[in-house]
């Protein structure tokens, strides 16, 4: 694994909720092209870590840099820039239910203000890459769990982010669907994508990844 540049770096971060500290003095460095696997039990703070990296969770101490944006984010424009530089796969699939699969996959492009024609073209290609082109006109809630995860991965990659964050992407999938999702993430990593995945169970990506264990709010190798 060659680390040519740092995509994300957290330096002694503390974060949590009013009556509970979830991440305590946590440090992490992710280089360009890295595949990082964060393992931890339920409630260990994996989702909070993802939210910190998305600047959706306030940090009470420490600082960091994600995709060139300093944490904590002080300006609205920096927040927008950060989030447009990051792709996200949610633990529980989240879509715009009234929109088609094609519109959902192209959502990051639409939000970035790309013309509709370009959104459609890139969306079609992204759906083709994950084998969902036949479902382009369906609504996302009509897809199976595995298909929804593939759709999420396609959506997270469509705008070629600097960092892909996947929060328990295999949590609710059967072994076959999990293997398909792992395959997609592995392919993206081989193409040079920087990826951070959180999981609470064994995954086939473990051999290729930098593995960390999240326990008591801190990371250990």
């Amino acid at each position: 694994m060659i680390m040519s540049a740092t995509v994300a770096e957290l330096n002694r971060i503390t974060s949590g909720y009013p009556n509970r500290v979830v991440l305590s003095d946590l440090s992490l460095s992710i280089g360009k092209g890295d595949l990082v696997l964060i393992e931890g039990a339920s409630g260990a703070g994996k989702s909070t870590l993802i939210r910190v990296l998305m600047a959706a969770q306030p940090i009470t101490r420490g600082q960091g840099i994600v995709a060139g944006t300093m944490l904590p984010v002080l300006e609205s424009s920096s927040l927008t820039r950060l989030r447009r530089s990051v792709g996200i796969v949610f633990q529980a699939p989240r879509f715009l239910p009234q929109e088609s699969v094609l519109s959902n996959v192209a959502l990051p492009l639409a939000i970035a203000g790309l013309p509709a024609r370009e959104c459609r073209a890139k969306g079609t290609r992204a759906l083709m890459d994950v084998g969902l082109l036949a479902h382009a006109r369906k609504k996302p809630q009509d897809l199976s769990g595995g298909e929804q995860t593939r759709l999420q991965i396609a959506r997270a990659l469509i705008h070629q982010p600097l960092l892909l964050l996947a929060d328990e992407p295999f949590a609710h999938l059967d072994p076959d669907s999990a293997a398909e999702a792992e395959e997609l993430l592995c392919t993206a990593h081989q193409r040079g994508m920087t990826i951070l995945i959180t999981t609470h169970r064994e995954t086939g990506l473990a051999e290729k990844a930098c593995r960390y264990k999240l326990e008591n709010g801190r990371l250990s190798e």
Binding site: T80, R83, P108, C119
Partner: protein, 283 residues
């Protein structure tokens, strides 16, 4: 353009997610605007009534006996040029006597032995405040050929004070109603946004800017405001038709009044949005 489209859809989706709250927000807004519109309409009608009452009153400039026509014409010209003066009329002594005898029903010539009234110049105003009348009275007293100048100052003052007090009270009531409407509509809008908070946060996580999210909120408020405004205009229109029928007197408002009601409704809705959902709206 795509972003604006998304923002509009998000605003519309938020409204559609809780139809009961939408109906409540629109209804409250329409009701608040109707009350406000009714109060402003009452102020408008009162001011019109004041104008009508004022045009019924007049300043009377009494002339000395035997005044030449040239001097009289000069006084008439002065009066006509006075700000707000709408109608200036010369009333000879005989005609004035006839008018007063007609009003009182008494033979005043027989009572006094001769005509006790001087010729006068009567000045009527379309719309004027007391300072204009006082300034005319003061000035006219200095004009040559004028013996005295009079107008029902006390009555005029009473009318003005009454109208001012009514307008002030109605204005305060309107302000209080506006505050209540803004508060209640704001609560409805906030409940709707909270209900769809996940969608708002979801789009924010994909990089939708705060400005675009604010646009979505604005579209949400505009839809409520416009709908509430149209409903309020409908209610006001029906009310005026009903009142006209009941009172057997046509009550109507000009088109700009209804446009103002629509704008007022939109302004209240946006104001409610500014005070309520946006305060806790940061992702």
């Amino acid at each position: 353009m795509r972003t604006l489209h998304l923002a509009f859809k998000l605003g519309l989706g938020t409204l559609r997610s809780r139809p009961t709250l939408t109906i409540l927000a629109v209804g409250l807004l329409a009701l608040g605007t109707v009350v406000l519109g009714g109060l402003f309409g009452a102020i408008y009608l009162l001011r019109g009534l004041e104008g009508e009452l004022m045009s019924g009153l007049s300043v009377e400039i009494e002339l000395v006996a035997g005044l030449s026509e040239h001097d009289r014409t000069e006084i008439i010209t002065h009066a006509e040029q006075w700000p707000g003066a709408e109608f200036v009329q010369y009333v000879p002594a005989e005609k004035l006597l006839d008018e007063i005898q007609h009003e009182t029903g008494e033979d005043l010539r027989a009572l006094f032995g001769s005509n006790p009234f001087p010729p006068i110049i009567r000045v009527q105003f379309g719309f004027a405040d007391q300072s204009v009348l006082d300034s005319l009275t003061e000035a006219a007293r200095q004009w040559e050929g004028v013996s005295t100048v009079a107008y029902p100052k006390k009555l005029w003052g009473e009318i003005s004070r009454l109208m001012d007090r009514l307008t002030g009270n109605l204005g305060i009531a309107a302000f209080v109603f506006a505050l209540i409407a803004v508060g209640l509509v704001g609560l409805c809008l906030r409940a709707q946004v909270r209900n769809r908070m996940e969608s708002w946060e979801f789009l924010s996580l994909f990089g939708m800017s705060q400005a675009t999210l604010n646009l979505a909120l604005l579209s949400h408020e505009l839809i409520v405001g416009i709908t509430g405004g149209i409903l309020a205009c409908g209610i006001l229109l029906l009310s005026t038709v009903g009142l006209s029928w009941l009172l057997l007197h046509t009550i109507s408002f000009p088109i700009w009044f209804y446009l103002s009601i629509c704008l007022l409704s939109i302004a209240l809705s946006v104001l409610a949005g500014l005070f309520s959902p946006r305060r806790s709206f940061r992702f």
